[in-house]
């Protein structure tokens, strides 16, 4: 039993699914709903999983399709993005000395257009190959690569814009938060 179970370690994939869901939905509670819906759908479509296939890529592509097929539209009305972003920020735990820069990077990343965000997430964070990421998103590899290029260019541009503010100033705002 234990051997069979480890072969299909879905529970072990939950962290990856939650992260990708969060990147797509930009909200913690929505992300969890999306993960749950993904697992139900994967259950129904489990015949589509080829023996020896990449379990994570299979689940990520179901998650992506679940998101595209209406999840996004249903949630868009239900929540206001601005409010969601505030709440979601509290759902992260990061090493203290990096938290300001990380928070800024997350904001920048989450403000990228959806296609670029998804491409960058699958490749840079999940470590999928270009081919796997392209098939997860259902787009040609060339399109994936151009989205990655644009995502990186956007991140660089936004970082350049924020640089003049200065890191010391940022540290005071984030670290002491009005106590000094």
């Amino acid at each position: 039993m234990g051997r069979l179970k480890s072969r299909f370690d879905i529970v072990g994939q939950l962290g990856h699914l939650r992260r990708y869901a969060r990147t797509l939905t930009r909200d913690g509670a929505d992300a969890e709903d999306l993960v749950h819906e993904t697992l139900l759908r994967a259950y129904e479509r489990r015949n589509g999983f080829r023996a020896g296939g990449n379990l994570r890529a299979w689940l990520l592509s179901i998650l992506h399709n679940t998101y595209i097929d209406g999840f996004r539209a249903r949630r868009a009305e239900a929540r206001r993005v601005a409010q969601a972003a505030l709440v979601a920020e509290t759902q992260f735990e990061a090493p203290q000395e990096h938290s300001v820069r990380f928070a800024q990077l997350r904001r920048t990343f989450l403000s990228l257009p959806e296609g670029q965000r998804a491409a960058l997430h699958l490749v840079a964070i999940e470590g999928l190959s270009y081919e796997q990421a392209a098939s997860t998103l259902g787009i040609p590899t060339g399109t994936l690569m151009s989205r990655l290029g644009r995502a990186r260019a956007n991140l660089r541009a936004m970082e350049d814009k924020e640089r003049p503010i200065g890191s010391e100033h940022l540290r005071i705002v984030g670290g002491r938060d009005g106590w000094v």
Partner: protein
């Protein structure tokens, strides 16, 4: 040239950062960058951002719910089981051919079983279904217990992992309640079912996987038609003398496939 012929492009920089290049191409890009500080700065900045992004998003805890973990376990079990069944399929196929041959040989006659109402013990969840039906009837008569008339199968499914069948158009939902049961949360819906009168539909995850065609049982003054599709079991319960409850259950079961 410097030992490489293809010109190094922006796509190569991304491929380098994303670790998608062959070892030869990586070296070519590194050779190119070693003599171009401007591009090298850009690539190093991209590498840094990638590493930081990983760390920044790795801390995401989200709001994990037990239902997701349970759904993940269910999928794990199903995948393992399907694999096992896949192995059995060939054996089963042989068995079916043998059985078919045997049946043909026997000329069908002796092997056909006449239609009888089986008197086997109903599954345990039927008792919960009857109890839920009684509770709902009691609630109906109490002014202080408001009925929940909003029936949202999508929400029920995402909260309880119970898939509800599609109700016939002329059925009217009077009350929807989530009740505890021996097997965990259950769904109980009180329905005004047109010509069938009042009945309730009960659904629960009994903890086993099975496909059971609708069967009708009578317990006390209640009559229940129970069936199971996959991991969810259902029971239609009525206290009226109702012959059609079995065929109603069959119609409901069909909407689940």
């Amino acid at each position: 040239m410097d030992g490489f012929d293809d010109p190094v492009t922006n796509a190569d920089f991304d491929g380098y950062v994303d670790d998608q290049l062959s070892p030869e191409r990586r070296i070519a890009v590194e050779a190119y960058l070693s003599s171009r500080p401007g591009d090298a700065t850009r690539v190093m900045a991209d590498l840094r951002t990638k590493g930081e992004l990983r760390l920044a998003l790795a801390g995401f805890r989200g709001v994990p719910r037990p239902a997701s973990t349970e759904a993940a376990r269910r999928l794990e079990r199903a995948l393992a089981r399907d694999r096992w069944l896949g192995g059995l399929q060939r054996v089963a196929a042989v068995g079916i051919f043998v059985a078919a041959g045997w049946l043909a040989h026997a000329g069908f006659g002796p092997l056909l079983i006449s239609h009888v109402a089986a008197s086997t013990q109903p599954p345990a969840y039927v008792r919960d279904a009857v109890m839920a039906d009684r509770t709902t009837t009691m609630r109906e008569s109490m002014a202080s217990q408001p009925e929940a008339r909003v029936y949202d199968p999508g929400e029920i499914r995402s909260a309880t992992a119970i898939v509800m069948p599609e109700l016939p158009k002329d059925w009217r939902v009077k009350d929807v309640q989530i009740y505890p049961s021996e097997f965990g949360p259950s769904v109980e819906i009180a329905i005004e079912a047109g010509s069938l009168g009042s009945l309730s539909l009960f659904a629960v995850r009994p903890g086993s996987f099975d496909v059971v065609k609708p069967s009708v049982v009578t317990t006390g003054d209640a009559k229940a038609a129970y069936f199971q599709v996959g991991e969810v079991a259902y029971a239609l319960v009525t206290t009226a003398d109702n012959r059609d409850i079995g065929s109603a259950a069959e119609r409901l079961a069909e909407t689940l496939y």
